[in-house]
């Protein structure tokens, strides 16, 4: 897969940013995710339910779908890596039609016998609002 970070020492430096991943959230995907999650909550499916709860006028994306954008960003940044751990806070909502961007920054690099262990700050923002998701991920890159 192209577009990932090089495994060179320069690319895997603390402070290096991860290639951003962007997608526009649509209500059709929310319907599919309702099936994946077996979650019929109408705030993901019916704008009238969102309005009735005073949460806005567009359907709200499922939190795990938001997290999936972050994981996909990590997979694209490190195509041959193994995701070892992830810890996130769900800090805000993402609505139908939002343009979201997932990104991150390397905060720790440990070269070990089995490969390179990388810790990253990760986030997801929608339309330049405060992060909807923020947290950290740990990945291992295989030894070259």
């Amino acid at each position: 897969m192209s577009g990932g970070l090089s495994s060179s020492a320069a690319a895997l430096a603390v402070g290096a940013g991860l290639p951003a991943y962007s997608i526009v959230v649509d209500s059709q995907s929310m319907q599919l995710w309702a099936g994946f999650l077996r979650d019929p909550n109408p705030i993901h499916l019916d704008p009238r339910a969102v309005q009735a709860k005073g949460l806005g006028d567009k359907v709200i994306n499922q939190g795990p779908a938001n997290l999936a954008y972050v994981i996909t960003m990590l997979q694209r940044s490190f195509p041959h890596s193994t995701l070892v751990a992830l810890e996130v806070r769900y800090a805000g909502s993402v609505f139908a039609g939002d343009a979201v961007q997932a990104g991150g920054t390397i905060v720790e690099v440990a070269r070990e016998a089995s490969g390179v262990r990388i810790r990253c700050d990760v986030w997801l923002r929608a339309n330049e609002r405060d992060p909807a998701i923020a947290g950290q991920a740990v990945l291992v890159l295989p030894k070259e």
Partner: protein
Amino acid sequence: MSSTELPPPPSVAGSSLAGTAPYVIGAAENRALCATLGAAAAADGTAHPIYFFIATQVGMGQTVAGLCALCDFNVEEGPMIASSSVTFSHALRTEQPYQVTGEIKSLVRKRSRTFGVMDVLEYALRLSLPDGQRVLETVNVWMLPRRGLA
């Protein structure tokens, strides 16, 4: 009113969330999920890692509504997921049966500037292979707003 004056939350710590049947990540569903992310499903049979959440949540022995009911909370009141953590021991694979086990770790009643009185629910879920080998463990935290106690 101080926190000591709030009625205690239901005593649910330790309640089992073990699934009743193995959970299988369908290859077709994994492809459909990856498509919503603008990504191709892996050709080697590994599933998208977000299935850590889906497999545990769907495969546990309770629906979200049922989990809320255990905590004496009506799901229509709007539970809010606050955080998730996961530690993988192995990658997830499609068409592989996984056993789901887990339990409620705590239910703590507190005051919040944003939500008033709320209960903070923390529960752990694990996926294992049929031979018992651990694949992952995840911990989710939900906020259950107790508007009636505000």
